[in-house]
């Protein structure tokens, strides 16, 4: 157990580095997948899925009685995809707008998950509170042997998830781009729009679950949405946006982790806070820059105009 009252001996111990690496992996994996959520204006669906996977995790736990990742991953991915379908079906049949349909779906599923967990509370190691904000600090205590090196189990899973994300994204880049930009046209080209959507939802759910043990279900939303949304503020190009989002994800995770270490507080919470700060700061700078540029061009237009027109708007 880490006693929070004793500061770490060297500035960064080996455990700290492993924890930070895990946070970085979680941040990049989620951030890359999240870019597509941002582009498709589905950020809130990411939020909903990350809440709604709870009953999937609790169900897998109740059925198997273990905290093995694979059953939880399966359960959560199924529920995650179900969330996407249920909320879009509610929008169609219940005739409520998309946000309301999402709100109904994820609160109901989350409530179900909490109740299931409190039924399972005799196995004390599944705590609803930790589900919300994760236990990044405990990552180094659960290691697996990987090529002779003891690496954190969560980190190994996240590294695997990141590799799979990148491979899938490169293989289906064309499909992702076309179906995100103009789904109807993509369908007439014979691209499988529904299948791409399904795959993306599955990827969001799977990444959420893998990251979730470390950072919790609400903070994972920041990792999903903030890098993509922040990068989008700075660039108009898709590929640079993906690179920039990765860079933002890495730096947010590192800065957040170090700040948490300094203040002796929750690292996952700090990373989410930093994500928001980065987004707000970027929005402020970009819009200030835009306003400056507009006023500069207005000024030059006035200067180059031979006679200022009185009816200028």
């Amino acid at each position: 157990m880490i006693d929070p009252s004793i500061p770490p001996e060297p500035w960064l111990s080996n455990d700290d580095l492993w924890t930070m690496a895990t946070a970085v992996l979680a941040s990049v994996a989620c951030g890359l997948v999240g870019c597509w959520l941002v582009l498709r204006r589905l950020s809130l669906l990411g939020d909903a899925i990350s809440h709604a996977v709870l009953p999937g995790i609790a169900g897998a736990f109740l059925l198997t009685g273990t905290r093995d990742v694979l059953p939880m991953l399966t359960g959560a991915t199924v529920i995650g995809i179900a969330t996407a379908f249920i909320s879009s079906a509610l929008g169609r049949f219940g005739r409520v707008d998309r946000d309301a349909a999402l709100g109904v779906t994820f609160t109901s599923l989350f409530a179900l998950g909490v109740v299931m967990m409190s039924l399972a509370a005799r196995q004390v190691d599944l705590d609803p509170g930790c589900v919300l904000y994760g236990l990044l600090e405990f990552v180094p205590f659960d290691t697996v042997d990987l090529l002779g090196v003891q690496v954190p189990r969560a980190g190994a899973w996240l590294g695997g998830a990141l590799v799979i994300d990148v491979i899938l994204m490169m293989a289906f880049f064309k499909e992702l781009r076309a179906t995100s930009f103009d789904p109807a046209h993509a369908a007439t080209l014979g691209l499988r729009v529904g299948l791409v959507h399904l795959g993306l939802m599955a990827a969001v759910a799977a990444n959420t679950v893998v990251a979730f043990e470390a950072v919790g279900s609400i903070l994972v939303v920041a990792m999903l949405v903030a890098p993509g949304a922040t990068a989008r503020l700075w660039t108009d190009r898709l590929v640079p946006m993906l690179w920039l989002a990765s860079a933002i994800a890495v730096s947010t995770a590192i800065v957040g982790y170090l700040a948490a270490l300094e203040l002796n507080t929750s690292a996952a919470g700090m990373i989410a806070t930093m994500s928001m700060v980065g987004y707000l700061g970027s929005a402020g700078i970009v819009s200030a820059r835009g306003a400056l540029r507009r006023s500069a061009s207005r000024a030059s237009a006035v200067l180059t105009m031979p006679q200022p027109r009185s009816d200028r708007l």
């Binding site: 709100g103 509370a121 609803p128």
Partner: protein, 313 residues
């Protein structure tokens, strides 16, 4: 069994007050939620709820007094600040509403976790009171707190019912309301303040994560039954009150599962699950727009179409 009788007959005055306050709050939330949903702001309450967590922590730090009123005041202040930030970002270039909402939800919650961990680390820190806000614990609320919540709910209900016509105009035809010279911006602002008020007042009983369900689920259920504002308000209030009473009752009466340490059935999630069940029933059974009715109509039309085609040949 004796416990059940005592509860159901509302003989115990403190149970009575707690139930009344939860039901009153649910009615207020359902009314405001209906307006917010029609105004397409269904999930604003979720952002406010998550922003209230750091608000509670800050109030804890700043005020020596740790009464519920002070904590909720802090929550309200940060909730409104969160709304203000989101409104500001809307006006800045290129930020997207869904991404902004998701980042606000997650970022503010992260900040709340950071602050609450710092409180826990203080020598005098006792986070037990704060943990209650995550999932809510209506059953253990004291009567004076219940009266506070009831008072807030009462004010909100009076305002909504008093300004029903104005809000209706705002939700259904904003431009027309502008044309009539109604103070649309002030009404919009008032609606957001009401959302913040009921959200914050709902924290003690339902908790940060699920309080938005009180706003969204009864409203979405009422949408299945009617399209007229008056009827929707009445139905959603009814569904909200029923969910609160049945959910609170169930969580108090159901025997805790064997060996559970978490105190058995959590109140907030039980209220939300009850609302979800009522929503599903509404979706299926509503006379005009219910799923069952629609399926029957479609079946009949298919049959009619088939007979037309047959007679044409």
């Amino acid at each position: 069994m004796a416990e059940l009788l005592r509860l159901m007959s509302l003989q115990d005055s403190s149970t009575r007050v707690v139930m009344m306050s939860t039901a009153g709050l649910a009615i207020a939330a359902a009314l405001v939620g209906t307006l917010a949903m029609l105004r397409r702001r269904a999930l604003v309450g979720d952002a406010v709820a998550h922003a209230s967590l750091p608000g509670i922590c800050l109030a804890w730090f700043v005020a020596g007094d740790r009464s519920l009123a002070v904590l909720l005041l802090g929550a309200l202040v940060l909730g409104l600040a969160c709304m203000g930030t989101m409104a500001l970002l809307q006006r800045l270039a290129r930020t997207r509403e869904d991404a902004t909402t998701a980042i606000a939800i997650s970022g503010f919650f992260g900040l709340g976790i950071v602050l609450s961990r710092m409180i826990q680390n203080q020598p005098s820190g006792n986070r037990a009171g704060l943990d209650g806000f995550l999932f809510g614990k209506a059953a253990s609320a004291v009567a004076s707190d219940a009266w506070l919540v009831l008072a807030v709910a009462g004010i909100v209900v009076v305002l909504v019912l008093g300004l029903r016509k104005e809000f209706g105009l705002l939700c259904f035809d904003r431009d027309f309301a502008v044309g009539l010279g109604r103070p649309v911006h002030r009404l919009d602002g008032l609606l957001l303040v009401l959302v913040a008020l009921v959200t914050v007042a709902g924290l003690p009983s339902v908790g940060v994560v699920l309080v938005v369900a009180l706003l969204v689920i009864p409203a979405a259920a009422a949408r299945c039954w009617s399209s007229s504002l008056g009827a929707m308000l009445a139905i959603s209030a009814l569904i909200g009150a029923a969910s609160a009473i049945i959910g609170t009752g169930l969580s108090a009466v159901l025997p805790p599962p064997s060996g559970a340490v978490g105190g058995g059935w959590p109140t907030g999630p039980m209220i939300v699950l009850t609302a979800a069940v009522l929503f599903v029933l509404s979706l299926l059974l509503a006379p005009e727009r219910g799923v069952l009715i629609a399926m029957w109509r479609r079946h009949r039309r298919r049959a009619a179409d088939a007979s037309i085609v047959r007679s044409a040949r």
